[in-house]
């Protein structure tokens, strides 16, 4: 835990002199006594206190004796011991903790005894036993034996708060950290205190507990997949901050003892936020992940996806040995083989086709992996036909934007900047796509330091929790709306302005151009927020057809010369093909092969076309080499599959959306190799060793930023609507495989549209709607919401049912909607 009070940035806080246990110290005005004591190494026991939550003063464990000088300067001891977690220091205050005051010691012993009378003595079977603040502090500040000979309070247990969070009410000491976190930090008050006195308990809305006649909560309550009142994307944090074993994880419960676990600090791989995590493993198996403590990035919070989704790395379809095609002609099924054989086969196939090969390296790798891919493409494959983008994307406009404004720009806008700014979000739903950004924005918003404006088709629940102003824009009109916007925010420019563009904005033609122009017009700083952990590193490494490492333009001769000097090999001069160009060329026979890594077919803008392209190139005698952690639709098509290590089994560096390097070590020392190592071996086998591709940022002329005018907005005809869609935090993504408890807390898949739209489509009273696209249709429950007229929103890829991904249509495309 941090020991300092978060102070608003840029303000000088006067110091206050206080004496604690005879030690004089100076702390900033407004510091709580418990923090001032921590600063000089005096630990006051506590339960409800948490440095990132508002003071509660509920548990009364941290009582100390306090004296303050009166007007004449005479010290006067307060008649009652004071809760040090709620009391701010004042000049001349003299504090006596349990170390020097019998009153404080007695009070603390008394409270500890109270907490224990109704606490079960089940530590040996409790998940928290061994890392339990109650256990530890009871040992330090409690009685050796109990005087309580009466009847303890018991409850049926556990109570499933969600599919993922279980509550043992009898262990709960009612410190309210969980409810305060849910309300203050996450904004999801899905649990609350109920009943009173000794029967007071934490719970979700429960008509049984509350003795209601029946009936659901009043007002709009979102339901999770199980039909219960909604869960939260951040609920796992409540388990971690619970000072007893009352809240436990369904996935971890009874699986391990804390003292048997080995902890390794790491970085979460599910998004570009770079949240610090702690990985706990035992005998080669990861058993749980916890939030790490990094005030600059995620403070002490992570999303449930970062916490609970890790078994994908050891899923049953994990590749353990290289695969090659059986049979002389390479047409047989994939069979396991040795690394030597697989490298030999791959090297031979690639070397034969050198000059007409391309690379699709995906966006999930580390910086080291991305640099290896960049060098491999240029040096070994001898091409600039490379594109890390494996999602709906913006072609040349986006590539130019990334080359001009992102690559090599270093650490610019940071998390800290978001707390104290007017922020415009375009093509970005932070709660779904960048959870750490969401929490930081919310912190600033609640403190009235940040104002959020969001460009989108409707005000999502996440945006509502950010108290955001909606800049309504139907998909396809983003550029037009941004062009028509002259200002944003609530401070008249007193606060810095920041424009955060999500990767989705690229898919709206002209969107990035308009966002950059708006930033320039309003004096705002501009930052790009991708979804995937490796996207920013890919940009830095030059995994684009027009870009070399460090933001060097391929087209710039001196940039190429710098690369040549560093690598000892001159990169190709001609700009390459991007994703669509590569797939077209593969289909048309212009390319004879491709090396693919970390790409999910379903993520691509047109999975069917991509599949056809890969099939076509193999049918034409071309080659597909795949580097993958797990079997996928693409490995099934490959000639050679080289297994690569998941994050837990390799060391590396993720780059956050900010450009912040987030180095992490391998959790396990296994035989699995990272992409960089595998590409290195393959390059050796081909006979062209890879250079170290890392390079400092480019100082020369950048690619000129693209200018693309806003296109004409889509105009849906009768029976049609414009599709809006994005990925939700919890969905069918393969990174969440094998996590049923987590999956149970996903949002319910529904179709959203305005009442007027529904009326226009003749859908009055319809419980479900069917949306048809070029490739298929999906049927989802209809929910009327404040969506821009003429637009239907669908989740992209929910786990339980088909979503927009099944339509073969992108955001902004026109789809048919029927009852």
């Amino acid at each position: 835990m941090t020991t300092t009070q978060p102070a608003p940035t840029g303000q000088v806080v006067p110091l206050v002199e206080v004496t604690i246990d005879g030690v004089r110290t100076e702390v900033p005005k407004g510091t709580l006594v418990i923090r001032a004591a921590e600063d000089i190494g005096i630990a006051i026991p506590r339960f409800c206190d948490h440095p990132l939550l508002k003071p509660a003063g509920a548990c009364r464990q941290c009582l100390v004796e306090v004296a303050t000088p009166d007007r004449e300067g005479t010290l006067r001891t307060m008649p009652k011991p004071q809760a040090s977690c709620t009391l701010e220091v004042s000049p001349g205050m003299v504090v006596s903790t349990q170390l020097t005051s019998e009153v404080a010691d007695k009070a603390q012993h008394g409270v500890m005894e109270f907490l224990l009378i109704n606490h079960p003595l089940d530590c040996p079977i409790c998940d928290k036993g061994g890392e339990c603040p109650l256990q530890n502090q009871a040992m330090a500040h409690g009685r050796a034996t109990t005087r309580f000979v009466d009847v303890k309070r018991t409850y049926p247990k556990p109570l499933a708060i969600s599919t993922q969070i279980l509550l043992d009410r009898e262990r709960c000491i009612l410190c309210q950290r969980c409810t305060r976190f849910s309300d203050e930090i996450a904004g999801d008050p899905f649990i609350e205190l109920q009943m009173r006195g000794a029967r007071q308990q934490i719970g979700t809305f429960d008509s049984g507990v509350l003795g209601f006649a029946g009936d659901a909560p009043v007002g709009a309550a979102e339901l999770d997949d199980s039909g219960r009142p909604f869960a939260s994307y951040f609920s796992g944090n409540t388990i971690q901050i619970c000072p007893v074993g009352a809240l436990t994880s369904a996935a971890y419960r009874f699986r391990a003892r804390p003292f048997d676990l080995v902890s390794v600090p790491s970085i979460a791989e599910h998004d570009a936020c770079g949240a610090a995590i702690r990985i706990d493993h035992r005998r080669g198996v990861v058993l749980r992940r916890l939030a790490g403590d990094d005030p600059a990035v995620n403070e002490e919070w992570i999303s449930d996806k970062d916490r609970f989704a890790f078994r994908w790395q050891v899923a049953a379809d994990r590749l353990v040995a290289p695969l090659v095609r059986d049979g002389e002609d390479g047409s047989g099924p994939l069979v396991e083989t040795s690394w030597a054989d697989a490298l030999d086969v791959a090297a031979t196939l690639l070397a034969q086709r050198r000059g007409s090969l391309a690379a699709l390296p995906g966006g999930r790798g580390t910086l080291e992996d991305a640099l290896a891919w960049s060098a491999f493409t240029r040096v070994v494959l001898g091409t600039n036909d490379v594109d890390f983008r494996s999602r709906a994307y913006g072609g040349a406009e986006e590539a130019d934007h990334l080359a001009a404004r992102v690559a090599g720009s270093g650490l610019d806008v940071t998390y800290a900047d978001l707390d104290g700014a007017d922020v415009l979000l375009a093509g970005l739903e932070p709660e779904e796509e960048a959870a750490t950004i969401f929490l930081r924005l919310r912190k600033g918003v609640l403190a009235a330091r940040t104002h959020v404006t969001v460009l989108g088709p409707y005000l999502t629940r996440g945006s509502a929790k950010l108290r955001a102003t909606l800049l309504p824009a139907a998909p396809g009109t983003e550029a037009e709306v941004l062009e028509a916007t002259d200002t944003f925010g609530a401070s008249d420019g007193d606060r810095p302005r920041i424009v955060l563009v999500g990767e989705r904005l690229a898919a709206a033609p002209g969107g990035l151009t308009a966002a950059a122009a708006l930033a320039e017009r309003t004096g705002a700083r501009l930052a790009w927020v991708p979804r995937r952990a490796g996207d920013r590193a890919a940009v830095e490494a030059g995994l684009l057809p027009i870009l070399l490492p460090g933001g060097r333009p391929v087209a710039d001769e001196s940039a190429r010369a710098e690369v040549a000097a560093a690598w000892g090999v001159t990169p190709p001069a001609a700009p390459g093909r991007d994703l669509a160009g590569i797939l077209d060329a593969l289909r048309a026979g212009e390319l004879a092969g491709v090396v693919v890594g970390g790409v999910e077919l379903e993520d691509l803008p047109d999975p069917a076309a991509a599949l056809a392209a890969l099939e076509a190139v193999r049918a034409a005698g071309g080659v597909v080499v795949s580097l993958e952690v797990r079997r996928s639709a693409i490995t099934e098509l490959a000639d050679v599959v080289l297994p690569v290590a998941p994050p837990a089994e390799k060391a590396g560096t993720f780059l956050t959306w900010e450009g912040r390097p987030r180095a992490f070590a391998a959790v396990f020392d296994t035989a699995a190799l990272g992409d960089a190592a595998v590409l290195g071996l393959l390059a050796e086998e081909i006979g062209t060793p890879l250079p170290d591709a890392s390079m400092p940022a480019w100082r020369g002329q950048r690619v000129a930023a693209a200018r693309l005018d806003a296109p004409a907005p889509p105009e849906p005809g009768p029976g049609q609507a414009v599709l809006a869609t994005w990925r939700l935090l919890l969905d069918a993504g393969r990174g969440q495989d094998d996590e049923p408890h987590l999956a149970g807390t996903a949002r319910r898949a529904v179709a959203l549209m305005a009442e007027s739209t529904a009326r226009g489509l003749g859908l009055q009273g319809a419980a479900e709607v069917t949306v048809r696209g070029p490739r298929g249709s999906v049927t989802l429950p209809l929910v009327l919401a404040g969506v821009v007229d003429g637009v239907v929103w669908l989740p992209f890829s929910p786990r339980e049912r088909a979503g927009a991904a099944a339509l073969g249509a992108q955001s902004g495309d026109i789809v048919e909607v029927t009852a």
Partner: protein
């Protein structure tokens, strides 16, 4: 002795249909409001300050001073909230005031609102007293229709029945529609109270005393009572007295005088112990008959004036049984927010029941003492302290009865039937100045 009584709030309780606007006006009602409207708000505050009126809800904080704590007007709303959540065992003064003469409260609300710049006042009423709720609603409507409120909005809110909501910040949370639990202070309600706006929270009797002060003047008020405890107050005698009821008298009257007014302890019995101001004030004994019942006098005897709810117990009553019932109440009503009150009352209840059943141990008595000490002054709000005081004062004055609980049930030592005020099947033996609606 009748000149000892100073009926002000209770003056018209015996009038026909005393709760109506017409009756109230016949007896001079709303003249104070008219006079108050001629005064500047600051002068009203000064007047109440000068009167020495102290909070009648139990704590005794100077009312005028409380009003003066409001920050200067900033154009936003400021609220008056009347605490009518009278819930303490023994306390029964506000309910009769509102039942018999709701208009004196409404007039006080209107004057106070004028003094503090409030345009919307609230009366937070204990929800169980539905008949009072109806009286208040009717009185507000009458006053409004008579044009007496001049734009002031008065909302009467019925609570859902929780002792904790008598704590002023829990009351505010409850009034806002939240779970009633005390708030962290600071900020105090004067700065950020209802809906985080400057708010004055006062007891019913305090506010109802304001019209009298406006009409009679500060000097009249300070002429009643004692130097530091000015004015009149309702003394609610209950229990083993011949004529239980409300006795409105100057502060500083003694129990001996009050008992004389009430006809003494019931026939054939003598005083054993009493509470000066409800169950949360430490009990006193017949040694305290002559202490002046004002804030200082009672404090000097080791108790608190509280709400002047004098519960009188004669020699037939088991102290262990009485304390046990009070602890049942505090355990039932603990809000649960803080550990000492929530867990301590849970524990005390089990020990007290054991002692009452004669199954206690000497260790239990030490535990009782220690647990009460660990609650007192350690809880989040004063209601935790309230749970500890009956135990502590009971042990202080009647320790031998607790010790007897280690071998003999309280029922054997003090047959419960002997304490009963009425036996099954007979009508109440009560008399005196009871008010019937």
């Amino acid at each position: 002795m009748t000149d000892t009584l100073t009926p002000v709030l209770s003056d018209i309780w015996d009038a026909d249909r005393s709760w109506t606007l017409a009756t109230y006006r016949e007896h001079g009602g709303y003249r104070a409001l008219a006079r108050a409207r001629e005064l500047a708000p600051a002068d009203l505050v000064e007047l109440v300050k000068a009167s020495g009126l102290r909070g009648r809800g139990g704590a005794g904080f100077p009312t005028g001073l409380k009003w003066s704590f409001l920050p200067p007007p900033d154009g936003g709303p400021r609220y008056l909230v009347v605490n009518a959540d009278e819930s303490e065992p023994g306390t029964c003064k506000d309910v009769p005031v509102m039942l018999a003469n709701p208009h004196v409260l409404i007039e006080g609300v209107a004057i106070t609102s004028a003094a503090i710049g409030c345009e919307h006042a609230f009366i937070y009423l204990r929800g169980e007293v539905v008949h009072v709720y109806r009286r208040l609603l009717a009185a507000v409507r009458e006053a409004e229709e008579a044009g007496l409120l001049q734009g002031l909005r008065i909302t009467v809110h019925a609570g859902a029945g929780a002792y904790i909501c008598g704590e002023e910040t829990a009351l505010l949370d409850s009034l806002e529609g939240r779970r009633g639990q005390p708030r962290l202070k600071p900020p105090f309600p004067a700065v950020a109270g209802l809906y985080a706006r400057p708010t004055v929270v006062n007891n019913v009797e305090s506010i109802a005393s304001v019209p009298g002060i406006v009409l009679g003047g500060a000097e009249w008020f300070t002429g009643l009572g004692t130097p530091k405890s000015a004015g009149h107050g309702l003394f609610s005698l209950s229990g083993h007295v011949r004529r239980p009821g409300q006795y409105e008298a100057p502060l500083g009257i003694t129990l001996r005088e009050l008992l004389e007014l009430a006809g003494g302890i019931r026939e054939g019995h003598r005083l054993k112990f009493w509470t000066p101001g409800g169950s949360s004030t430490p009990i006193l004994t017949d040694a305290h008959l002559d202490i002046p019942l004002d804030y200082e006098g009672v404090a000097g005897a080791g108790s608190m004036l509280g709400t002047r709810a004098l519960q009188i117990f004669d020699e037939t009553v088991s102290v262990v049984r009485a304390v046990s019932r009070w602890i049942d109440f505090y355990k039932h009503e603990s809000c649960g927010k803080c550990t000492p009150c929530r867990e301590g009352t849970y524990w005390l209840q089990q020990v007290m029941h054991r002692l009452e059943e004669g199954r206690g141990t000497p260790e239990d008595i030490r535990t009782l003492e220690d647990v009460a000490g660990n609650i007192l002054g350690r809880s989040f709000c004063a209601l935790g302290d309230a749970a500890a005081t009956p135990v502590q004062s009971g042990l202080e004055h009647f320790r031998e009865e607790f010790e007897a609980g280690c071998h003999t049930p309280a029922r054997d030592l003090f047959p419960y039937e002997a304490s009963a005020l009425a036996t099954a099947g007979t009508a109440s033996a009560r008399g005196g100045r009871e008010v019937t609606a």
